[in-house]
Symmetry: C2
Subunit: 419 residues, 2 copies
Amino acid sequence: MQNTTSAIIITIGDELLIGQVIDTNSAWIARALNDIGIYVRKRIAVGDNKVAIQQAFDQSLSEAGIVLVTGGLGPTADDITKPLLCEYFESSLVTHQPTLDHIRHLFENVHKRPLTERNIQQAAVPACCTPLFNAMGTAPGMWFEKSSKILISLPGVPIEMQHLMTEQVIPRLREQCQHQFIEHRTLITHGIGESALADILVPFETQLPSSIKLAYLPNHGFVRLRLTQQSTEQPDVELIEKTFGQLKKIVADYLIWDRDEPLDQIIFGLLQTQNKTIATAESCSGGYIAHLLTRNPGISSVYKGSVIAYAYDVKTRSLGVPEQILQSYGAVSEETVHHMLLGILDEVQADVGIAVSGIMGPEGGTPDKPVGTVCIAAGDRHNPIIKTYRFRFNREKNIQLTALYALNLLRSFLTSSVS
Amino acid sequence: MQNTTSAIIITIGDELLIGQVIDTNSAWIARALNDIGIYVRKRIAVGDNKVAIQQAFDQSLSEAGIVLVTGGLGPTADDITKPLLCEYFESSLVTHQPTLDHIRHLFENVHKRPLTERNIQQAAVPACCTPLFNAMGTAPGMWFEKSSKILISLPGVPIEMQHLMTEQVIPRLREQCQHQFIEHRTLITHGIGESALADILVPFETQLPSSIKLAYLPNHGFVRLRLTQQSTEQPDVELIEKTFGQLKKIVADYLIWDRDEPLDQIIFGLLQTQNKTIATAESCSGGYIAHLLTRNPGISSVYKGSVIAYAYDVKTRSLGVPEQILQSYGAVSEETVHHMLLGILDEVQADVGIAVSGIMGPEGGTPDKPVGTVCIAAGDRHNPIIKTYRFRFNREKNIQLTALYALNLLRSFLTSSVS
């Protein structure tokens, strides 16, 4: 057992420093390490630059027991991580036969392209490391140990990194490292601001057990509250459960969910429990609500389909919104979304649904319906909830908030219709 | 003019270290700085921890002329950036009157909630900084200068950070700092692997002017090639243009686009030029293709609508796919997507469209149609391109790749039907 309870994540690539890609790997790795009780103390992103990478290795190995590196393992000249690791650990490159066999198989049977010297070089690893076989790609992971510190290098392709983490890195770390116990409990509130919530929670925060930390994660009207218990001994699950129970009681009026799940997943669960099917009729959200629902595995048991009615005539023809309603009230109106909801429930024969229409910007606003105005109907044929919102942001954010508020209205419908 | 041509970005928040949120701010800031010729040398993420934040400040200020910090400026106890900055720069807190007036206005007229002491404290800033007025929220930005170094603290809420960067930080940096000239040129290839591309490009890379760097950004069958020219003098635009022209010529057989634009934006442009309207009929992609198209401002001039036909009966009823086709060939077949395409073009009266049907996993695969099998039809009523793909990943990635390959098929249709 090594005393390596904290980790630093290093991501490598010029694309990270010029903002050409968003780094999703770090969050994924952080979550995976957290799940096995390894605390991440820092994340660093550096470019494809030898001096910068070496400096990041030095600093990180002096500050943490585990250093996880992704990126720079490709076959091209701008990928310099492997030769650099070889030099850093004063080793020399040797062929990893299982990787070479796998690369040969991939090129001969899957890609059906000739194998070149460059591909063969992908199978070379520093002699001093433990190679981690990568079934999802050509670049193996590498596990180095030195002076009771661990450095792990993984490819930057997310799917390959995730595969290597799950299959090889996590099991080894779990076995080899002394880890802490980290317990989280998160709940979601709605309808109260972060400051007001903090005021209510002053007595709670003052009496919080020293092993437990409270964090606020606000997101446009929704605030997540997270309790974290971190300890080197067995976790006091009873204590965090009791504290979480107190927290839930204090924020009961604003509590919408007591787990950290996205609203689409919450709704999927509610629909399964209530044995109901769902459909969406979307104008301004352009299919984003349907996308959020359908990213959930197994959703086909409750989700029937959607009509994205962007053009005026699609609203009348495919959703049966009466011409007269559109003319009297406009495409962005509570009357129109009500008819869109009735139309979609009829069209795909679903039990409940969401219908939205609005102006996402930057163009299309009018004095009485400015950019950000959105009408939402959510529920069944008989008693849907219908509301109008006014978001104040750019197109991307307005679309996200439209989906968030629409899903929340349906959650509200589904939870209140049960009780 | 200060010699502050390089920057380090620090993001603060425990949520980053436990992977509860993905850091999109860093990429946005990096892009914005790059656009004005400021090179980002590193990005660091640390938790809500005093020692870790101070250490990050010290290290960053010693390595770069500009340090950009986001996060930790909220009104709750876990937000420690402001008091820490006050201590770090040996200052004391004073009220920033324009911010206080703005907070008062927000609470009285927008949120319609009582103003508390906690909200008022949001208007306090260290006396030694230049406050940056935040019209989008309650936490002002702060601009510090010390020993010819600049440290800028911004709120972590993306929309507020972006607003402050655009309106205040970028104009000031442009005026105050000596910046470099950074020129990028990016093209997109398809149908050739990264290694094979690198082999073709050996002579090109060998003769590359020393001021220009080539980078490979592979993404599942698509490889972006980026040329970057970085110099302290006026950029040699002619040289990078000439070099980019050579690169385009070498990869001509695989070149699909000569700008770094997402495929949905490329298609939007092509549709506008060709004066054509578009629709989508989606099964397995669940609205994600419609979402990608509709995130583009002004898309309503070409996009008519979509049917997301998840359930079997929606495919027949809303898209008019004949029962017999579904029964003979199955829902995931080239025949079915062909009929889905004809159905949607008819239903919403569009000129061209995309139809997809597949199995995204993790369940639903069969021996002859395993998870990842996707059929795509793209084009018009007369000569659509119809293809079957087999992706090998998880549900999320399979959905993304389905959209990517579907949009690329339509791009291929739109560009070949012109020439």
